[in-house]
Amino acid sequence: MLKLIGAVLVVLAGTMFGFAKASAYARRPRQIRQLIAAFQRLETEMTYGFTPLGEALLHISGQLEPQLAAMFRRAAEPLNAMTGVTAAESWREAVDACWKQTALSSNEREILSQLSFTLGTSDREDQAKHLRLAVDMLKAEEENARDEQRRYEKMWRSLGVLAGAFVVILMY
């Protein structure tokens, strides 16, 4: 009886692991989508609203998923608090700190840190240009991520169950 309960638990754990992995694949395109939307809003804030960067980031963070919102907030805080940190440093620091919690891959991270070099340091046109470039790159990544989602989401789900069953059989 005890053995049976253990077996059920092991299978359950395997299944959940598989589903967690699969959901990471589902989260990535969604988060990239949100990042794209966020950058487009940032562009609007910059070119039409003349909103200072710190405030703009804070505004945008209100409409994002918790993990991404945390990243934006973290980047905005030192800027609004006037701690003498530059925008680039603050943004990079935030990306480094919050990247682990998001489902984003190293490609997106690279795009984000590329953006940090120009964030806030040039005129509107240039900012818009860089943001658009980042958006374009993110769109390519999104396509990529969707493709991967299609391919690997199901795989991880079945793999989780199967791995759980495998372990149970080995131990039974």
Partner: protein, 334 residues
């Protein structure tokens, strides 16, 4: 000194922090030039700041800010948002929180023959704004028009860095506050409108003045003077309009409009003296038309005492005031 520290990159901030207290309190300008010595102007004297925070007369001894310092400085000065300062970059200066003005120079970018913005900013001149409450008090009786119960149309003339803006700010405060100012015939305060094109007079942050400009004062922040004066007259019905640094043809038209509306104007202009101002076509026309019934000439001697000479429209000397410059640390709240 304190408020501008937060705008400086860490390297330079460390040096300024180490300055002796009395120098730090008297700092008027901080000049940062890429690859050239860090200069500081305190009490009218220019010195260079060495990396260890000591002052030197030898330019070679000063700390030489790097490119990185300059990039960080511009990032911090613009609140990490250079794109919100495009108009200011076109004009060559930005005003940061606290009313401190930062002049910029570097490589300009042209578009159709006009300066679009400054790209590689290599020179910064940070002018520290000071609030000297009461500095306008001795002057107020001289420009007070008892008959109208208002101030005269006043033009304040002086070279840069003599305290025009500080003076005009205090005049606005005094006129707005009213009460016991030692001026005959002054009753309740007046409605004052400040058109603060460069955000220097009131140093507004999000529309709210950070300097004390009086309880009955409205501030139009960042607005071109001519347009701003019209807007103020139409919308806020002020008794007195305060503007900084007039001199363009459209300013003259706006002044005329103000006069017709019965609004008194206190304005400032760059110039060594009245004669100097008369040389400039727009100003000459204004003076010839007797737009200003009081002209105040402001100057500062080497020893640091300031002098005010007040003329009326026909060139008669009305008053002469001299006062020790009140620059003791306790009087410098900024």
């Amino acid at each position: 000194m304190k408020p501008i520290l937060s705008f400086l990159p860490a390297t330079i901030r460390g040096m300024i922090d180490k300055l002796p207290g009395h120098t730090a309190a008297a700092v008027e300008e901080l000049r940062i030039r890429e690859a050239r010595s860090l200069e500081i102007v305190a009490g009218g004297e220019s010195r260079f700041v060495a990396p260890d925070g000591t002052l030197a007369d030898d330019p070679r001894a000063g700390y030489k800010p790097t490119r990185d310092d300059c990039l960080k400085l511009i990032d911090l000065l613009t609140n990490h948002s250079l794109y919100t300062f495009e108009e200011e970059l076109r004009r060559g200066y930005i005003t940061v929180a606290g009313g401190h003005r930062v002049g910029l120079a570097g490589k300009t970018v042209l578009e159709r023959g006009e300066v679009k913005h400054i790209r590689d900013v290599a020179s910064f001149n940070i002018r520290i704004a000071r609030e000297l409450i009461g500095v306008g008090r001795p002057l107020l009786p001289a420009i007070w028009d008892e008959a109208a119960g208002n101030v005269h149309q006043t033009l304040i003339v002086s070279p840069p860095r003599q305290g025009k803006t500080t003076l005009v700010r205090d005049l606005a405060r005094l006129a707005s506050a009213g009460g016991d100012t030692g001026t005959a015939g002054m009753r309740a305060g007046l409605r004052v409108g400040i058109v603060d094109e460069r955000s220097e007079i009131a140093a507004c942050v999000k529309g709210v003045p950070t300097f004390d400009v009086g309880p009955r004062t409205d501030v139009l922040d960042g607005c071109p003077k001519a347009e701003g004066m019209m807007m103020m007259i139409r919308s806020m019905s002020p008794d007195v309009l305060v503007v900084d640094e007039i001199g363009r043809p459209e300013d003259a038209a706006a002044l005329q409009e103000a006069l017709h509306a019965g609004v008194r104007v206190v304005a400032t202009a760059h110039g060594r003296g009245v004669e100097d101002v008369r040389e400039r076509p727009v100003m000459r026309r204004l003076l010839e038309e007797r737009m200003f019934s009081r002209i105040v000439e402001l100057s500062r001697s080497r020893r640091g005492e300031s002098r005010c000479i007040v003329w009326d429209a026909s060139g008669r000397k009305m008053a002469e005031l001299a006062q020790e410059r009140r620059r003791e640390p306790g009087m410098v709240p900024c």
